[in-house]
């Protein structure tokens, strides 16, 4: 029977059916469920790597060692893994390797919306683009065959809407691919200049062979309809086109690098008007234009965000979409916010009150940038907070470092914060770094990492000791505080900021969502004592709300987990424990 699967689960299934035995990843929306699903299969090895570069390097080793290997990451993760990726494209594989790039058009949960098909062109990798979960499974499985047949890593590029949509999948049997023989082959795998020059020749030969394949494969197919309009499309955009305009002619591309030139020329010659429908960058369109074919694309479609069936209707058919009820004009936005009981709230409340300059990082705590906490000055990429605080100190001097901090999560610190910290020590910075240690990778749905002491399958393992690590790189002043004890946190910050030496404060308290025990006590606001100053509302907690008429703060007992923060901020001692 067919089963509903999100795209990510289907990719894991495809890798399993292809006989993959190794999978690696660093969690990142929208890619996370790929390797966590794969880990549930029997007889396979899966890991959360410390970052995407390590994930790919372990994957490369597994491939050279002869195993079919799956490596998964979000689009920006490929930036981290780009260094090994470009050169691995030269060496090629032993066991097949499929790299999943999960892009995020519309930035549902990302800091940019880069189009990683650009990477594939740059690194000269073949690219598969599935359009639903069935294809995600089938293409992944096929990806391993292509990887071995053409001796190349293969990129399977998906987007959020594919990764997180459930569609029906017919599963197949696992092929026991086994582990291929390993023979030392230094000319292929040791990329000295002399060897690499030889490999580059192979890469260019391979691209020509892949171009032939692109023209022959059934992954690229024409669905003939009305020939007055022909659309070239791939991925989930294909579904939007089919939904909006089922009667036109469509060239559906499942294999998009290199492009099938003969097929595209033939299609272009048989339709009156040719349009490329692709989210984000004009990757297909520009190549088609370079061949001298008249085609439309980004002149009618946007470079920004996700597409939709109604957008296709508007731009291609000129149909007006629903006018609507007009209620939306009075609807306030609902940005995401820190959960009730979140330990980060204590940190950002304090940083805001102390008026510090805060270089931030990637994680739930990036939400500390939003009002009312308003506690962040910059956030660029994984691990950037520490280098950024150091750079600000070097630009503005040591006195500026007395009122600035870097804030980084435990998983992010392990991912790529450690080298920044070494730089502060080595180049005599004096900044203070806050590691927000909530014992998990929270934003992506609570994955383990080296400092939790648990593996992807929840096995106990060696636990990275963050205090010892910071001391080992040369930080003399390392202290651990509870971020929901505001006095303790403030005192630690005051003391460490004063010091003209680098220091680390580890704010240690588990994520409120992984604490299983229900709260022992309940709070209420004593209406007699509440003066309506709203300071408790300014911690931005949904465990609390404001009654405008009564000028009174009220606890929402369904949301409050009695974390103890609001009684500490209340000047009038109005938050009380419910007796009995």
């Amino acid at each position: 029977m067919k089963r509903l699967m999100i795209g990510n689960e289907a990719i894991a299934r495809g890798a399993y059916e292809a006989g993959a035995t190794v999978a690696t990843a660093y969690p990142g929306t929208p890619s996370t469920e790929i390797v966590s699903s794969f880990a549930e299969f029997p007889g396979v090895y899966a890991e959360w790597s410390p970052n995407e570069k390590v994930a790919l390097e372990v994957g490369i080793g597994a491939s050279i060692g002869g195993a079919r290997t799956l490596v998964a990451m979000k689009h920006v993760g490929v930036n981290v893994a780009a260094d090994p990726l470009y050169t691995f494209a030269y060496t090629g594989v032993n066991g097949g390797l499929v790299l999943i790039s999960a892009d995020d058009p519309g930035m549902h949960s990302s800091q940019n919306e880069q189009d990683n098909r650009g990477y594939a062109r740059f690194a000269k990798l073949p690219v598969l683009e599935p359009a639903d979960s069935q294809e995600a499974k089938d293409y992944t499985r096929l990806g391993f065959e292509l990887s071995e047949r053409f001796d190349t890593p293969v990129m399977l590029r998906v987007t959020t809407r594919l990764s997180h949509s459930q569609t029906l999948v017919e599963t197949g049997e696992r092929e026991e691919a086994g582990v291929k023989e390993y023979k030392k082959n230094a000319v292929k795998f040791v990329m000295l200049p002399g060897h690499a020059r030889l490999r580059h020749v192979e890469v260019e030969k391979r691209m020509l062979a892949l171009k032939e394949f692109a023209d022959e494969t059934e992954l690229n197919r024409i669905e003939w309809g009305d020939r007055s309009l022909g659309v070239i499309t791939s991925g989930v955009a294909y579904q939007y086109v089919k939904e909006a305009m089922p009667d036109i002619s469509i060239l559906k591309l499942g294999f998009t690098n290199p492009l099938p030139e003969r097929l595209i020329r033939s299609f272009a010659g048989q339709v009156d008007r040719l349009v490329v429908v692709e989210e984000l960058e004009p990757v297909i369109e520009e190549q088609v234009k370079a061949w001298g074919i008249k085609v439309e694309g980004k002149d009618i479609f946007t470079l920004l965000g996700e597409y939709s069936p109604e957008m296709i209707e508007e731009r291609l058919a000129g149909r007006d979409t629903a006018a609507g009820f007009g209620l939306d004009k009075e609807i306030p936005g609902r940005p995401p916010l820190l959960c009730p009981g979140c330990p980060h709230r204590g940190v950002f409340y304090t940083l805001h009150r102390m008026r510090l300059t805060v270089t931030g990082d990637i994680g739930c705590y990036t939400l500390g940038a939003l009002p009312p906490l308003d506690g962040m000055d910059s956030c660029i990429c994984m691990g950037a907070s520490i280098g950024t605080v150091m750079g600000m100190e070097k630009a503005r001097g040591q006195d500026f470092a007395r009122k600035s901090v870097a804030v980084i999560g435990d998983s992010t610190f392990v991912h790529s914060g450690i080298t920044g910290l070494i730089d502060i020590v080595y180049n005599q910075g004096t900044s203070t770094v806050l590691i927000l240690d909530n014992d998990t990778t929270a934003m992506t749905g609570h994955q383990d990492h080296p400092a939790t002491g648990r593996t992807i399958t929840a096995q106990t393992t060696s636990k990275l000791d963050l205090v010892a690590l910071c001391k080992a790189v040369g930080i003399e002043h390392v202290r651990v505080v509870d971020p929901l004890k505001l006095d303790e946190l403030r005192q630690a910050l005051t003391e460490e900021l004063e010091r003209r030496e680098p220091s680390v404060i580890i704010c240690k308290r588990p994520c409120a969502l992984i604490v299983k025990e229900p709260p022992q006590q309940k709070y209420y606001v004593d209406a007699e004592l509440c003066k309506g100053c709203k300071i408790c509302i300014r911690i931005g907690c949904t465990g609390m709300y404001w009654l405008d008429k009564e000028k009174l703060a009220v606890i929402n007992p369904n949301n409050c987990i009695t974390c103890g923060l609001c009684p500490q901020v209340c000047t009038f001692d109005a938050v009380k424990i419910v007796e009995g």
Binding site: K2, R3, L4, I6, T29, P30, T32, E33, H108, S109, D132, R161, H164, S165, Q166, T167, L168, V236, Q239, Y240, K242, E243, A244, P246, S308, P309, E310, E313, T321, A322, G324, F325, L327, D328, E330, I331, P332, G333, R334, P335, P336, L337, L338, C339, C364, L367, L370, P371, P372, M443, T444, G445, K534, I537, R538, G540, T542, Y545, W546, N558
Partner: protein
């Protein structure tokens, strides 16, 4: 089996359980032999942001997302979210609103006002609007967390989906110790829908 595609938009606030509701409904229509696509939101928006799940079923489904003005039913776990997504409803469509208010950040901080009587405004625009206190019913059933399953009952009533199919799906999807409460919550939701439609 109806030939035409049916579209259900389930909206709410991250953490309210919209994902489980959409997954139960999707499982039910798979059991019934339809082609199905479900679009979900994971990641940052789940932290108290505006979230939406989309369930589409019929003979053959292409897009996993629903076009504006094309939803047969808008099921809202929270009043403001019902208003936010109302334009996705098709003419003659049905709105089910859980009578819950969760203030978004701009309201909490005084930058914006929570619109007054927003559910009544929706009811005035859409004749087929049902407002229900699923949270209270769930508490009566024994667990406040079962509010989303009360809404499953309302929804399956609205879509004309047989109860035994839903009960079968719930049994495969919720932990054994929570099954009784969830089945009770589902039946209460269904009963309530029947009573409201009269």
């Amino acid at each position: 089996m109806p030939n035409q595609t049916r579209n259900i938009l389930i909206v709410g606030v991250g953490g309210q359980g919209t994902l489980l509701t959409s997954r139960i409904i999707a499982q039910v229509v798979v059991q019934m032999g339809y082609d199905v696509k479900v679009s979900e939101i994971h990641g940052m928006a789940q932290r108290g942001g505006s979230v939406v799940s989309q369930v589409r079923y019929g003979e053959k489904i292409y897009s996993p997302i629903i076009k504006k003005g094309d939803a047969d039913v808008l099921l809202a776990f929270e009043k403001l979210e019902a208003a936010r997504w109302l334009d996705y409803l098709k003419p003659g469509g049905k709105v089910i609103i859980n009578n819950d208010r969760v203030d978004p950040l701009p309201v909490m901080t005084g930058k914006a006002k929570y619109p007054q009587d927003i559910d009544q405004k929706i009811a005035a625009l859409v004749p087929d609007t049902t407002i229900v206190d699923a949270t209270a019913i769930a508490i009566e059933c024994g667990n406040v967390k079962a509010a989303n399953v009360v809404l499953v009952g309302m929804l399956s009533g609205a879509m004309g989906i047989p109860a035994e199919e839903v009960e079968k799906a719930i049994a495969t999807m919720v932990p054994a110790k929570a099954l009784e409460v969830n089945l009770k919550a589902f039946r209460e939701g269904e009963k309530l829908f029947a009573a409201m439609v009269g």
